[in-house]
Amino acid sequence: MSDDVHALIGAWVLDAVEDDERRRIEAHVLQCESCAREAAELREAVARLSDTVVAEPPPELRDRVLAGARGTRQDPAAAPRRPRPARRTRWRHPKLRLAIGAAALAVVAAFAGVFATWQVMRAPDEDGSQMTAVLEAPDANVAVQDAEGGGRVTVVYSAELDRAVVVVSGLADIGEDRSYQVWLVDAAGQVSAGVMDPGDSSATMLLDGLGDTEVVGLTSEPAGGSDQPTTPMIADLALPA
């Protein structure tokens, strides 16, 4: 896939790609320093294409923009590849993992058209019910991807709830000295969404506060996880819109 993505860098800097391609390219560029450099250089050239279209806006636009800005709170600076401590990751104990995993797979089946026919095993605690809420949300959408090396990643996402359930199952065995780690990728970078227990190849997690996240990614890291991905993504799912 990466050759394919790489060839799209030109089209991407021109915004001449479809949304799902855009997400894939952005995820790729974040991991590929030479791609990021090339994209930045091309972007400067593309910016110059605007030299020929400069046009005087209507004068009243100025007041509206300045008033709008006064009423708009600024985003904080992107802390250099920030960890987001507010995002708590809740890995489920094995039994519940299994239950929710099955439910998520049922959701996948449900998108074939029988949404109401499956039942989610009610989990006893708050996380469990939040997961259930995501899986049952009317706007829930599902993305499924086979991970490189084996296994599968399923993301059930509700834009309304701003939450997602990620089900990782049957990944390749990585041994006790490594952990699989889930990442949230947006235009500004990637943050860890959670680190699986060393050696584990299946898990289910609830993500909240997804904000501008475009891609959910998965890498293999030294046990306990890393601040930034140190290996290529073995799965990268565009959040199902």
Partner: protein, 186 residues
């Protein structure tokens, strides 16, 4: 109106806007709004929509200014990227202009009105046009349709009756050539 952006001051104004200085943002507006609006107008071909989208763009510039990193690119690229992305999103969702009209407009020469004509005399403007002319015809048309028309590369391939992989690589080659040409004439 200026086709020439003083890049040093655009950067410092954007950085200061990122610190919450609204005077700096007002100055940045004066410097960059004609560009943001111009991009929207070119892509959307509709003054009311261009104005609406340009307003969103410029407020987004204010909102995200603190994330601007001068190490990673110019203020010009930062702002025009937001403007172009928003304009393209809008044109794709609304399909405001008929496709044929959009296509014709995207490829039209840039001297349709006296204002553009005046701008055409400016040296930077001439530079871009000269560099665009250095592209092969297919590179030129593909880049132009994508940027000014807001088309995807697949749509461009359809419009030009060319193979999709060919268009994909011509766009990239064309941009590389454009970059080299603009750098050489600096």
């Amino acid at each position: 109106m200026s086709a020439v952006v003083d890049t040093v001051s655009a950067e410092s104004l954007l950085l200061r806007a990122g610190q919450g200085e609204d005077e700096a943002f007002a100055e940045l507006y004066d410097l960059m709004a004609p560009r943001a609006y111009g991009i929207c107008l070119r892509v959307l071909r509709d003054r009311a929509q261009a104005e609406e989208v340009a307003q969103e763009v410029l407020i987004e510039v204010w909102r995200t200014a603190a994330r601007f990193d001068a190490q990673r690119g110019s203020a010009l690229a930062w702002i025009t990227t937001i403007a172009h992305r928003r304009a393209v999103d809008r044109v794709r969702s609304s399909q405001a202009a008929g496709d044929r009209e959009r296509r014709a407009a995207a490829e039209a020469d840039f001297t349709m009105d006296p204002v553009a004509d005046a701008a055409a005399r400016r040296i930077e403007h001439r530079q871009v046009r000269r560099c665009l002319k250095a592209l092969t015809e297919l590179q030129h048309r593909a880049v132009t349709l994508a940027y000014y028309g807001g088309y995807t590369y697949q749509q461009v391939a359809g419009l030009l009756d060319a193979a999709v992989p060919t268009v994909k690589s011509r766009i990239r080659d064309g941009l590389v050539k454009l970059r080299d040409c603009l750098e050489a004439s600096r």
